[in-house]
Symmetry: C2
Subunit: 226 residues, 2 copies
DNA sequence: TCAAAAGTGTTAAGTTTACACCCATGA
DNA sequence: TCATGGGTGTAAACTTAACACTTTTGA
């Protein structure tokens, strides 16, 4: 029987840990949790969970993300596996890190409250449990690489956004300032970023034009370009 | 006791699978193995192994790589975790894929023979076991991204190499042809690629200058640039 | 009326691409 | 002597970077 051969090898707990990025007031944020169980209860950590017996690891990540945000569809990518022997002081756990991008306004604050989860500025994170700091670092690298080649930033913004918001988002992700005119010129060349009729008056007296990401138009560009 | 909390969760076999890239005669190659055990014994697969109880996952990958190549120091990077429920038909196994770059001449052919391992052209791979095809695809994407931003190609070449070899290597990795003069111009601007006094006469009557990668010079460039 | 954010083009610098011939040598 | 792979520079196209003032309006 085939399982016999496998059975001589050790088994491990397998977990997922999620780096949930949000964006608000020009700041990139990460959703952190006060760890609700021992060991090291109360320390700041990423939201995680163990993989279930009949669950794909990606589905485990989706489940954890859903349980903390209430969101069913969100942008999520694997960052990598973390498997040092002593990375978790409780027991041997191999953990797969995922990052997710969410519209911070759509996240359920009830669920955040129930899970003792809080948005913290990426620039000013508290010390984190285990290797979670390293997971965040790698997730940010992943995000930077992706955002430079694909329009995924929209997942961090509300459906309608101003160009100033979009620019601040890119600056926050890339950690560098961008020339306003050059930025707007580039955006103007992207047919999938559409001007709307709406005006935002929250952040300026004059008001700023609201834009929208048109996924359909983006897919068309892809067809012709790739 | 802290382990109590963890114990309610399931455990899984955790494996590593290695995509070992080599380069010979203008072709990128992958080292494949005839799977030596059931289930699906005899099918083409990547070289893999289970993670040991007190072993980091990276160390497990190094061990597997060493057992098949005889090499202790090789360039290796994690590709990602693969964890679909039914990816392995033998049992539930979460597998972490790693790719490695080796100088094909330094690989022990005795060990290859003992492990029923063979170099196959990347362009012309046989059907592979489980999700190994997908692992190779992701590894190649990883490799392309890395090779475009860092000088890691040297790990696939002998210590001394000609510019033609180097160009063919880049062409094989990127899957695109490169203009010879533009390529050489770029290489010339890299102080860490050093001309030597040696001439290679294997591939041409006239002979070609052999070059060498100077890691120390590369590190100096890094210090000033980063 | 003024403070605060929105919006708008041009030029220079740098990078990338395209392209064709001579060289050295062993067979 | 000729076939084979090695080696070399320039100009055009394109991309990126630098830069400053006017507009609108609520307080």
């Amino acid at each position: 029987m085939s399982t016999t051969f496998y059975q001589q090898y050790p088994k491990f707990h397998v977990a997922v840990d999620c780096i949930i990025f949000g964006f608000n007031k020009g700041q990139l944020k990460v959703l952190l949790q006060k760890r609700p169980f021992e060991p090291r209860q109360g320390e700041w950590s990423l939201m995680g969970g163990f993989v279930n017996r009949d669950e794909d690891i990606d589905d485990a990540a989706k489940r954890v993300l859903r349980s903390l945000t209430g969101l069913h569809d969100l942008y999520m990518r694997q960052v990598g596996a973390f498997g040092s022997v002593h990375r978790d002081s409780g027991n041997r756990v191999v953990s797969i890190a995922y990052f997710a991008l969410v519209d911070i306004d759509k996240v359920s604050s009830d669920l955040n409250y129930q899970n003792a989860a809080y948005w913290e500025d990426l620039e000013n994170l508290p010390p984190l449990l285990f290797d979670h700091q390293e997971m965040v670092r790698k997730a940010l690298l992943c995000l930077r690489t992706l955002v430079s080649s694909r329009p995924i930033g929209f997942h961090l913004l509300p459906p309608l956004f101003t160009l100033t918001q979009l620019q601040q988002l890119y600056e926050a992700i890339l950690g560098d300032s961008i020339d306003k005119r050059n930025f707007r010129k580039r955006i103007n060349e992207m047919p999938f970023i559409e001007k709307t009729e709406e005006i935002d008056r929250k952040t300026s007296k004059r008001g700023a034009i609201l834009y929208r990401f048109n996924e359909r138009a983006f897919d068309e560009v892809k067809i012709f370009k790739l």
